[in-house]
Amino acid sequence: MVTQQQHGVVSEVTGLEEGGAELGSRMGVGVAPGERGEGRLAGMDVEQVARGLGWLSIGLGAMQVLAPRAMARLIGLSDGSGLVQLMGLREIGHGVAILAARDPAPGVMSRVGGDGLDLSLLGAAMVAGGDEVDHGRLAGAAAAVLGVTALDVACAQQLMSHRESAGEGRGAGAMLTGRKGKKSGALHVRSSVTINRPIGEVYDFWRNLENLPRFMAHLESVTVLDERRSHWVVGAPAVGRLEWEAEITEERPGELLSWRSVAGSDVDNAGVVRFRPGPDRGRGERATVVDVDIRYSPPGGALGRTVGWTAAKVFGEAPEQQVADDLRRLKQVLETGEVVSAESPRGRCIG
């Protein structure tokens, strides 16, 4: 599980391991928080472990760049400080890739590759070194690298499988998860935002479902069919357009709204949005907290079998970020009356 703290927006996403077919029956009002334990490694949040590995890369790399001779001596080489410096730069690269990226998984994967390189260099030094090397220290260094490699591999696998379950299932991530035989594509996203408008206004805006495309980026349109039913159209670049019919399963004005897709939809989904009083900060009029809880599952029908439906094909980017961004836009629309844009001219820097 990944939890993201944002400015007035908290969101989390949980990959579900259950099969999609039975999921539908459990969706609806009052869904429980997602299972904890997903995305964890040795009791720590896997992204924390990844960050730790990133910092380890930076620290080790900096030592290799700045004090190559001392590092070479430490691992049992009498010479080779130039190579150690190069390895240091590479190490720093891994760290930057992990810490600066939105998704740490590729950076951690690159560390696994780097570990392999380190091990083969240490092996080559042992074989070719003769008297130039201290075999005991080299073996110690190799053992240390092996230990770190194990952690890197475990972390990379966790990140990848988490990414898959979170809907980013492409390439290596899909491969890893597929091998484990998990049901992919099922998805549970939660997110919160605080909006400086009265609760009734926020509820009414959401209840008018045709407003949803104003802040939900992937939504092309919602057409209200009657009191309870509506028709949703989503633009999904990878599989074209997806459509489904949704019905409101419960509504409590100013408090709660829940919906689910009806049988036979392209995308089985259900969600609940809760509205509760937020802070008033001494102004007498309270802001509104909106908590959103959405579950998607792969379609059981022909579409699921033929195109291999995953949430990634519908949402593209990380779905928890998508929902958080949607809520941020909801806040913008309700507070400022517009979706904020930084559209700007820019130079080309040619010549």
């Binding site: 904020v340 930084a342 001219p345």
Partner: protein, 390 residues
């Protein structure tokens, strides 16, 4: 139109770019008549701020004439002469309504980037990296101003551009730095860094009742300008700052200590390589020497006010000194919208003429050379004003 574009570390070009257009109802388009280079622009120029992209238009201190307004802007009309605050603020969110405009919750469309780095996102800022919104800046002939009904204020007739321009940033920034010292009548305030913000902090400290202000720098013309503003001065290359401040304050230390330096490291050699790593890690090469000194120098129970820009983490911060001696540390990007009108009052009533700080006036075409001169402190450069239409 012409605009100053960032094309990589140390590489600026004045390019022909498309003119901005109204995107949202609360936008205005401003024809820029004067724009200044800020000390914090040098951090972009030197590549210290992450998430800059080639082609980004720089500049967050600017003013000009309204040439177009969206249907949601009723407070401005075409032809109005306005000065624009550097933080973009909606005026509607909880932060804006608390007067914390530089923490606007809606104006940074790239808030997720800032959240990764800092936990939560502050407001978007003109021409100051994608981390802070990715908005085009005002070192251009035209600029799009979002939430134009909240930020820009009209400049009274008869006031020159150079008198009004610095309401966009450095005058309010120096003023908020002084205000954060919670100065009591007769207090002694020390100011680290006598660049443009330090100069305004010195003058603001006097306005707020300081009895003595001590300016600390090493550049002779900056120390002279501080003296012209009524400050005593210390050259940190010639004096032991902590010892000197102790002596000057009867062994107590200054009541308020203003840090107006920020992350301005010029480190070479091996340490320079290490700094590069820290920069690419979005940690900046924060050189917190002035901040450390300000904490160490401050009198027991005093205020340390940080106006300098920091980006990431700092090393070896003397927090034990701050904790054990009951120091109050206050900081923040300036909530410019909160200060523009009261400070405009001070200009119109003749209490201050902010144009004193200008040392160079150049055309927009000369921007690349102007940045270099300002960074290297050549030709006694303290503040450059660029004219996009001359």
């Amino acid at each position: 139109m012409k605009a100053v574009c960032w094309c990589g570390t140390g590489r600026l070009r004045v390019e022909e770019v498309p003119e901005p257009r109204i995107v949202n109802a609360r936008d205005a388009i401003i024809k820029v008549t004067s724009t200044a280079i800020c000390g914090s622009d040098l951090h972009l120029y030197d590549g210290f701020i992450p998430t800059m992209q080639r082609g980004d238009i720089l500049g967050h201190e600017f003013m000009g004439e309204v040439v177009e307004v969206g249907p949601g802007v009723t407070s401005l009309s075409v032809g109005d002469r306005v000065v624009v605050p550097f933080p973009i603020a909606c005026g509607n969110c909880l932060s804006c309504q608390d007067g914390l405009f530089s923490l606007c919750e809606n104006s940074n469309p790239n808030a997720w980037m800032a959240e990764k780095l800092w936990g939560y996102s502050p407001a978007g800022i003109f021409g100051y990296s994608h981390l802070l919104g990715g908005y085009a800046g005002g070192q251009a002939q035209y600029v799009r101003v979002p939430f134009a009904d909240v930020g820009p204020i009209k400049v009274p007739e008869g006031m020159t551009d150079e008198q009004a321009l610095f309401l966009s940033d450095i005058f309010p920034t120096g003023y908020m730095a002084a205000e954060n010292c919670e100065i009591r009548q007769g207090d002694t305030v020390a100011v680290w860094g006598c660049g443009p913000v330090g100069q305004f902090a010195i003058r603001s400290a006097f306005m707020l009742g300081a009895g003595r202000v001590i300016g600390i720098d090493r550049v002779p013309e900056r120390l002279r300008m501080a003296e012209a503003g009524g400050a005593e001065t210390l050259n940190f290359e010639e004096a032991d700052v902590l010892e000197a401040l102790k002596e000057m304050t009867g062994g107590r230390g200054p009541d308020g200590c203003i840090e107006a330096v920020g992350m301005e490291a010029h480190v070479h050699g091996v340490a320079g390589v290490y700094d590069r790593v820290k920069q690419s890690m979005m940690l900046e090469t924060d050189r917190p020497q002035a901040l450390r000194q300000a904490v160490q120098a401050c009198c027991n129970g005093g205020h340390v006010s940080v106006a300098g820009v920091f980006g990431g983490v700092i090393d070896k911060f003397p927090f034990g000194s701050a904790m054990n001696r009951s120091l109050t540390i206050k900081t923040g990007q300036t909530h410019v919208q909160r200060y523009m009108r009261p400070l405009l009052e001070r200009i119109t009533s003749g209490q201050i003429d902010p144009s004193f700080v200008v040392t160079h006036r150049m055309s927009l075409d000369e921007a690349p050379g102007a940045y270099r001169m300002f960074r290297d402190k050549q030709d006694e450069c303290i503040k450059v004003v660029l004219k996009p239409w001359e």
